[in-house]
């Protein structure tokens, strides 16, 4: 093959790849538009919503508790090593509180729940797709976006913030365990330290600490991204059981990357707007 024809082939491959990505982005936003319409118009599927809240939220609770606990404990341990050198261990609560509420709580919870529930969503919808169950819904005059995607999306919107609050609390408690058991701080001192850091960035609407709003706004967005991405890949599944596996992997990888990238931009926006 000549150099010129190799270049042409490479250019064609690049064009095809760009076209495929552009098409996927267009389909992704088309699904979002249909989903938003389905969320605000009848019929609603309350039972499916409760079932999904159970699948996403209750079933993920244990792993979120573990994640929060060990994150808080390791944060306290690592910080203590540095802070002991300056005699600043009384500020351990500030480090744990700020890190858990602003970043680690929302992000780690989102990643853990994506690995668990997002993979499950993509696999469940993907399996329905390859066994023609999604087509069966459509032939019965039922919109799969309304029946399958909307309940998962709404359940993720509700459960992500709740799980994040729980993870934050448990992380703070985990930090307190280390602070009390290893560093000899009193629980009261530790909690005051946590409160001081959460209140020092100011308040929105007089009573809501900015850190808390930031910490609860993120999981809303992360939940939406996880559910939309997982359902998108589920609905696009083709190629039998192997296709289900590929869709599941893509759903988790793309959701995780979107969550991490969005976290950066949301933090940047909050810093510019409020601090």
């Amino acid at each position: 093959m000549s150099e010129a024809s190799a270049r042409r082939a490479a250019a064609q491959l690049t064009r095809d790849a760009v076209f495929r990505v552009a098409l996927s982005v267009q389909e992704y936003f088309a699904l979002l538009a249909r989903l938003l319409r389905a969320c605000v118009t009848r019929p609603f599927y309350g039972r499916a919503l409760i079932l999904q809240m159970d699948t996403i939220g209750v079933a993920s609770l244990f792993i979120v508790l573990l994640t929060g606990l060990f994150t808080g404990m390791v944060l306290a341990l690592q910080s203590a090593v540095e802070m002991e050198q300056f005699g600043a261990t009384i500020y351990i609560g500030r480090v744990v509180g700020a890190s858990a509420v602003r970043e680690l709580g929302p992000v780690l919870t989102a990643l853990i729940v994506t690995g668990r529930a997002g993979a499950g969503m993509a696999a469940a919808i993907g399996a329905m797709k390859v066994t023609e169950q999604v087509d069966a819904l459509r032939t019965m005059g039922v919109d799969p976006v309304r029946r399958l995607v909307a309940p998962r999306f709404l359940a993720a919107l509700i459960m992500f913030p709740l799980l994040t609050v729980i993870a934050d609390l448990v992380a703070i408690l985990g930090g307190m365990l280390i602070a009390v058991a290893k560093l000899g701080l009193t629980p009261d001192l530790y909690i005051r330290s946590v409160y001081s850091v959460l209140s020092e960035n100011g308040f929105i609407f007089r009573y809501l600490p900015i850190d808390l709003v930031q910490g609860l706004g993120k999981p809303l967005v992360f939940g939406a991204l996880m559910a939309l991405t997982s359902c998108y890949y589920g609905l696009k599944t083709s190629g039998g059981t192997e296709g289900v596996g590929q869709a599941t992997t893509r759903a988790v990888v793309v959701s995780s990357v979107l969550i991490l990238a969005t976290d950066y931009f949301m933090t940047q926006i909050v810093l510019v707007l409020f601090l």
Binding site: M128, T131, E132, Q133, D135, A136, T139, G141, V142, D143
Partner: protein
């Protein structure tokens, strides 16, 4: 001769061409890139008739069903369901038109997570205001119609059913809301001869007792001979023969002879 030969009464040919518009395809093409899947498909199904679409694997038989349901939009041509062009209607109209049809998929496509009761009741819960007792009673009725004992199967999951039972539950789900049109995708594939005959007789019963119009995609000639009032043979995306099963049997066309033999 089958025991149902006397039931193969199709509308006369000139009537089929003029008025058979329960389901009607007019010059339908479907292409993916340079590949033509369907080329100029035209046919009509009269009220109460059963059209069997025959052909080898991969010639586009199941694609025709997907086009009738607009699961796939045709590249060009018109698809009329009860006189309305399904390719040109809005999303809401499409959902309503789909409720006028029942589809039995090749793999049954029962919802894995739902019991037989909930699978069969699904269309009623979605589209009617019937109360729970009325739904239960209708589910029992259609399960009995497809020769299943409701007491034995109602609480089973699809994974606990045999292939023949799955097909019958799928038929029950397709007819529970009494659609006037039924579509079958390879209803007897993968079934033993006795179960195949049972399913064929069930399809005949649907036509004779409920008067539904049906389009059946199959490659099973014996089944087609039992159930069809009209048959169409597909080759490379084109209909190369259309007529009654008897006309097909007597056809001199080379591919038809080869297919039959």
């Amino acid at each position: 001769m089958t025991e149902h030969d006397d039931l193969h009464v199709a509308a006369p040919a000139e009537v089929r061409e003029e008025v058979c518009s329960t389901v009607r395809l007019e010059d339908v093409y479907l292409s993916f890139g340079d590949h033509d899947v369907l080329r100029g498909i035209s046919f009509g199904v009269c009220q109460g008739d059963t059209l069997c679409i025959l052909g080898g694997s991969g010639v586009g038989k199941s694609t025709i069903l997907r086009i009738i349901l607009r699961l796939l939009p045709p590249t060009r041509g018109a698809v009329l369901v009860e006189g309305r062009d399904i390719t040109a209607c809005s999303r809401d109209e499409l959902l309503k038109l789909r409720q006028r049809m029942g589809m039995v998929f090749q793999g049954s496509a029962l919802f894995d997570s739902l019991s037989v009761r909930d699978n069969v009741a699904f269309p009623l819960r979605e589209h009617t205001c019937l109360d729970q007792d009325e739904i239960e009673s209708r589910v029992d009725e259609v399960l009995s119609f497809v020769d299943l004992d409701p007491g034995d199967v109602l609480d089973l999951l699809p994974a606990e059913l045999s292939g023949g039972m799955k097909k019958r539950v799928a038929i029950a789900r397709a007819i529970v809301h009494e659609p006037p049109i039924l579509l079958f995708d390879e209803p007897t594939s993968g079934l033993d001869p006795i179960t195949t005959r049972t399913i064929d007789e069930l399809i005949l019963k649907l036509r004779l007792e409920l008067g539904v119009s049906a389009v059946v995609v199959t490659h099973d000639l014996t089944s087609a001979a039992r159930i069809a009032t009209e048959a169409a043979l597909l080759l490379d995306g084109e209909i190369i023969f259309k007529g009654t099963p008897e006309e097909m049997h007597d056809s001199e066309l080379e591919y038809v002879r080869a297919f039959l033999e």
